[in-house]
Symmetry: C2
Subunit: 317 residues, 2 copies
């Protein structure tokens, strides 16, 4: 890591309106979607190009805001109709969202076509969408150097073969603990991770909500706690912004498949540091509805909390 | 910690027969009880004197076994009648035992009287029993230098005032996450810990099962993961053996209230290292029914796994 070279990330995922109720209150038709959270988090580290679809009801001001953060929104299609709408709630177990309604709207016929300006991004993040679309995007990117991906129970259950095809091209899978168990058909973390590594992704990053995360690389295991947050307002977007900071940090520090294969220890350490940043990012996301906290978050705040987290993980007090 | 001075622990708690069913199988009338697990774990670090009651059905061979491990069993009363019997089961959520039946038997009239050889132990561990008995034991110990304690939902709910009286004399409380929330009437970890610190114990160690533990001292917070165990057979005794290794390590390294008050940073670091040992100890306990794994466990095995755990916690890979 002597000469970090910022790399650009291409990310595909959902842009949405969320209506969400949590023990702290509710928010109606606020901005959400995986690529929204992911790109905002990643933009603190490197440049990001996003591919998504919104309806003609989507506020231009929001795309302008993303643009102001250095996010390239020229790959966002604006389709006739309504933007994807997710309605969900969290009970006192803030680790798990309960989906009350999903209106796919324009997302139903999403056909992610990459502008020619987008086909040479070195780092690709395939957020949680139909694995067929994930492959479709990946095929359009030439010479990608690192592919990360998320998925969820719906795709694991309904499109298992398509998901497995995607996974064969993935270097880093970011997935919830329960979904890892479902995908691997195992109920112990290490066994599940090993099984998933056998499906393609040499690196499996398992998200455990308020309990942190567990990373499995070709050379080791890293167990990271979550940062303690006393005032959780809304967990929506925690996982996507976690991934955004992880992949953003990797891209900022010149990560690639080549580094992973030729310097596995250096790669492993880079990923561990990336996870610290992801953990801290997620801890901010959940302190407000929607992207409220991410809007105002500065790098200084992020780094200050990172130092606190490192003290909580250290044997040296 | 230049001149560690081994200190003796006095522990009071239950000796029992357990009948337990887990997803891995079942065991009937096997040896259990908090002081049993605690003392076996602690005995790898320092000398332990235990106070408990068993019935006349309790195998002398088992007390001989504890004695062979350097555990002083002269404070174990043998009462006419049957030994305490706990019947419980775990479903796939191995973090929580479901109690099916409890036959207190001789434990119902347990009156812990300390032999004169037991009243000058510097370190005291009050395992999870009636807080009135915990106080009764503590009053008999002269000049104790450090008091640690466990409790559970039953006492929090049924004897809250008595428990709070005990807590005023406690330096380190070891308690499950759910029980911490119940005791503190808070549902965030940091708030709960602070509330409990206000009740007496300056140090609160919250056990989070397979997700590790969180320590709150006067100077800091430490978040420790659990060691990953692929073959959990029976979680019974995990918490007690965790506490046994924590308190054993503290005693082995000369911990005291004086150290805590006059060298808070040194104390905090000592406690962090103690937790690593507790974590590893618990990971062995759950790999067999009863004390099966603790019977054969060597210090070399414990230290080898400790090194693996430290690598899983390290940013340096």
């Amino acid at each position: 890591m002597n000469h970090p070279a910022h790399k650009t990330i291409l990310s595909v995922g959902s842009m949405a309106f969320d209506s969400v109720r949590t023990p702290s209150g509710k928010a109606d038709h606020v901005l959400g979607g995986s690529v929204n959270y992911f790109s905002l988090a990643a933009s603190l580290f490197t440049s990001v190009k996003i591919v998504a679809v919104v309806g003609d009801d989507f506020p231009k001001a929001h795309l302008d805001f993303l643009h102001s953060r250095g996010i390239d929104v020229t790959g966002v299609q604006i389709a006739k109709g309504k933007t994807f709408h997710w309605v969900g709630e969290y009970d006192t177990n803030l680790n798990e969202a309960k989906t009350l309604a999903t209106a796919l709207n324009v997302f139903e016929h999403f056909d992610p076509k990459l502008p020619s300006t987008h086909t040479h991004c070195p780092i690709v993040f395939l957020a949680n969408i139909d694995p067929v679309l994930q492959q479709h995007v990946l095929h359009q990117v030439k010479d990608h150097e690192l592919v990360a991906c998320d998925s969820m129970n719906f795709w694991i259950t309904c499109k298992p073969e398509e998901l497995k095809t995607t996974l064969r091209s993935v270097d880093l899978l970011c997935i919830n603990e329960k979904e890892a168990f479902l995908l691997a058909e195992e109920n112990s973390l290490e066994k599940a991770a090993k099984r998933i590594q056998g499906m393609g992704p040499s690196n499996v990053l398992i998200k455990r909500g308020e309990y942190g995360s567990a990373l499995f690389t070709p050379t080791g295991i890293f167990l990271a706690p979550a940062y303690l947050v006393d005032d959780v307002i809304d967990p929506t977007g925690a996982g996507d912004s976690f991934a955004g900071a992880v992949v953003g940090f990797l891209a900022q520090n010149g990560a690639s498949r080549t580094l992973m294969n030729s310097h596995p220890t250096q790669w492993d350490q880079l990923l561990r540091r990336a996870i610290i940043h992801g953990t801290v990012m997620a801890s901010f996301t959940i302190q407000d509805f929607s992207i409220g906290r991410l809007r105002t978050l500065t790098q200084e705040e992020l780094f200050a909390r990172r130092e606190k987290l490192l003290k909580m993980m250290s044997l040296g007090a």
